[in-house]
Subunit: 367 residues, 2 copies
C-alpha cells in the first residue's frame, strides 16, 4: 500500500497552464536540484536563501548541485524565525540580488521552512517584476502546505502576511531526509496540516494516519514520504482549481480550522502556539461546530479529536489564552475579511468558543 | 477628423481576459469616478493617493465623487518627485491601508503622475496579495504610458524600478482638463511618448502631430484629447498582445528609444533630463541607427528629428553628459538585461553613440 521511497513515481504536478510546475518528493532530491532547475530556467545565475539553522546543514549540498549544473551565484542566510518576515529582510534580499547580478532569467532558491519560503517567494515575486523561485522546503509544514500554491508574503507590524503576492514557483523540491533534523514539536505541528488533508479530502489518508501515527513520531522515512505525497497531491489539486483563493472557491477549504487559528496566533502575538498547534485546536472547534450544525457525526468528531491527540497536538486552549471577544476582534483584522464581513459560520450557541470564530469548510464530506 | 472632446465615444479597452479594463478619456471624468468605480469594485472602502502638488488641485473632487458613490475612505499625499518611489513610501501606504481598514475588496486610487501611479500600483499589487487599483493620471506622460499596462514598481537605490510587479488596474480615468496645470516642460516630455507612438505604429498620428504641434504647446483640449486617445489605444492594443513584455514580444516595441534613455537618465542620476527628454534623444539616435542599418530612409529620419525639435525637445546630448563607456556600463544594470545579454542592436560603426546603446524596435515599419 505504501510506495517504497526509492521507487520512481510519476511527478506530482500543479496544473496552472503556463504557470504549471512539478513537485518532486524524493529522498536526496536536494543533490539533484541543479539538473532539475537547469532544465526549467533560462538564466544561469542564482541566489540560495536560507536561515542560520538550515543553511549550514543543507546549503552546501544545494549550492554545489547548482554549481555542477552550471549556475553561478551565491548563498545568504537570514536569522531563523518569523521575525525575518519583514520589509527589512525583503530589502536585504533585494540588495543581495543586485550584488549577485541576478537578471530577469535568474532564479531564487528558498531552502528552509515557511518563513524562508514566504520571504524568498515575495522577493522573487517583486524583483524585476517577478523572477523565478524554486521552493526547497525543509519542514513538514512547508512541505505539505506553504511551498505549494504560490502564496508569498511578509508581515506588516499590525497584520500577518498583509504584504504579499501570488507567485507560483517553477518547481518544489521536497527532500524528506531533511526532516531528520526537524525538532519534534515542529514535526507535530506539521502533522496538524497532514491531518487536515485527511479530514477535508482523503478518508484513506485519515485512516492511514490513525494506524501509523507512531511511525510519524519516530520519523519513519517511508511513512513520512507517503503522507507528504498524499498531502501535496491534495494541495496541488486544490490550487490548480483555484489559484487565487476566489471567494467561495475550493481553496477556502484549505482554511479548515484556520480562521480560528489565525485569531489565536495573532492574539497571542505568535508566541504561544506554533501555527500547526493553533490549527489543531481550530480543527477540534470546527469539528465541534460541524456537529452542532448537523454536518458531522459525533463519532467522526471523536475520531478527529483522537487523532489530533495521538499526534501530541493540543485540542483546546490553555488557561491564560485570550477570551472570545479578543479573538473575535483579532479575526476582524484577518485579511480574509471581505467587504467588512467575516467568512465564518456562526452558531446560535452562546456557551462555547464555537460562537464566533472559525470556518467549517466542508468537513462532513470528508471523514 | 478629430472627435469633439464631448462626443460620446466607445471606450478604449485593454483586452486581457478576466483582467480586461476600460480606459476612459473624457474631460471632467474625475467628477464621475465614483460611479464608474462603484460598478467595478465589490467593496466600498478606498484610499486616494496623491502628491502635495496634485492632491490640493483634484483630490477633493475625486474624493467627493467617491463619497457620493457610497465609498468610505481617506486620502493621503506624499512628497512630489521620483524620491517617493521607495520602499519607505510603500510602507507608508501599507500603514495607511491598514488604518483605513481596507480589505481585499477595497480599492486604491492613484491620482497623479507616473511616480504616484507606479508606487500606488505597487502597494495595491502587494497589499493582501493584490487589491484593486484605479489609475487617474494627471500628466501627459502618465496618461499615454505608465497608467496603462499594469507595470508597477519602486526604485532600488542601485536600480530604478527594480522592485515591482505586474498588476493591471481596474480602470484608467484620463481627464485631459488636468493638463491645464501641467508645467510646460512636463507637457513637452509627455509629447515625446506621443511622438513615439506615431513612429512605431501610427503614421496618421505622426502626420497629425506634424500639422498640429502648435496646438499641443498651447494645450488645446481637443488636440490633446485626440492625441491621448490615439496613443492610449496603441498602448492598450500592444499590452493586450503582450501583457508581461515577453522576450521578443510586441511590448518591446514600446521601448523604442528607451534603452538609451534609461542609460542616460541613470548616468545623470535622474537629475539632468526628464524621462521624455531622454526618450527624445534616444529616438533620434535610434532613427540614426536605423538609417545605418538600412531600415529607415534619411527623409524619414529627418521627419522624426524635425518633429522632436518642433515639440521643443532635445535631439542630442549636451556637453557635460556622460561618455559612451559610462552609458554602456549603466545600460548593463538595466533590468532588461536578459541572461547577461543586452537586447540592443549593435552596429559596426565606431564613430558615434549608435555603437553601443539602444533599441531600434521596428521603426522602419512605422513612418
Amino acid at each position: 500500500m505504501i510506495n517504497e521511497t526509492n521507487t520512481p513515481k510519476p511527478a506530482l504536478r500543479v496544473e496552472l497552464g503556463e504557470r504549471s510546475y512539478d513537485i518532486h518528493v524524493k529522498p536526496g532530491v536536494i543533490a539533484e536540484a541543479g539538473g532539475i532547475i537547469a532544465a526549467l530556467i533560462k538564466g544561469r545565475r542564482c541566489l540560495v536563501v536560507s536561515d542560520r539553522n538550515i543553511g549550514p546543514k543543507y546549503g552546501t549540498l544545494l549550492a554545489s548541485s547548482m554549481q555542477k549544473a552550471g549556475f553561478d551565484g551565491s548563498a545568504v542566510e537570514i536569522p531563523p524565525g518569523e521575525g525575518a518576515k519583514t520589509i527589512k529582510f525583503a530589502e536585504f534580499l533585494y540588495d543581495r540580488c543586485i550584488e549577485a547580478k541576478l537578471d530577469r532569467d535568474s532564479v531564487l532558491l528558498a531552502l528552509g521552512g515557511g518563513v524562508i519560503g514566504d520571504l524568498t517567494g515575495f522577493a522573487a515575486a517583486t524583483f524585476y517584476r517577478g523572477i523565478a523561485v524554486v521552493q526547497v522546503p525543509t519542514t513538514l509544514l512547508a512541505m505539505v502546505d506553504a511551498s505549494i500554491g504560490g502564496k508569498t508574503g511578509i508581515d506588516h507590524p499590525k497584520s500577518k502576511n498583509a504584504i504579499g503576492a501570488f507567485h507560483q514557483p517553477k518547481a518544489v523540491l521536497i527532500d524528506p531526509l531533511t526532516l531528520i533534523s526537524l525538532p519534534e514539536r515542529e514535526l507535530k505541528a506539521g502533522l496538524a496540516e497532514v491531518i487536515k488533508y485527511g479530514v477535508i479530502d482523503d478518508a484513506e489518508l485519515f485512516a492511514y494516519l490513525e494506524e501509523n501515527m507512531e511511525k510519524f513520531l519516530k520519523k519513519d522515512p517511508a511513512a513520512l514520504a507517503h503522507a507528504i505525497e498524499k498531502s501535496a497531491a491534495i494541495k496541488a489539486r486544490i490550487v490548480s482549481q483555484d489559484e487565487r483563493e476566489s471567494a467561495g472557491g475550493p481553496r477556502a477549504l484549505l482554511n479548515f480550522g484556520h480562521t480560528f487559528a489565525h485569531a489565536l496566533e495573532s492574539s497571542t502575538n505568535y508566541q504561544g502556539y506554533l501555527h500547526g498547534e493553533a490549527v489543531a485546536i481550530g480543527m477540534v472547534l470546527a469539528a465541534e461546530l460541524s456537529v452542532e450544525l448537523g454536518l458531522l457525526t459525533r463519532a467522526d468528531r471523536d475520531r478527529i479529536k483522537a487523532l489530533i491527540e495521538k499526534a501530541g497536538l493540543p485540542t483546546k486552549m490553555q488557561s491564560g489564552d485570550p477570551d472570545t471577544e479578543t479573538l473575535h476582534a483579532a479575526s476582524f483584522r484577518d485579511k480574509k475579511v471581505a467587504a467588512g464581513k467575516l467568512r465564518f459560520v456562526v452558531t446560535e450557541r452562546t456557551d462555547d468558543m464555537a460562537k464566533k470564530v472559525w470556518n467549517v469548510g466542508r468537513s462532513s464530506q470528508a471523514v
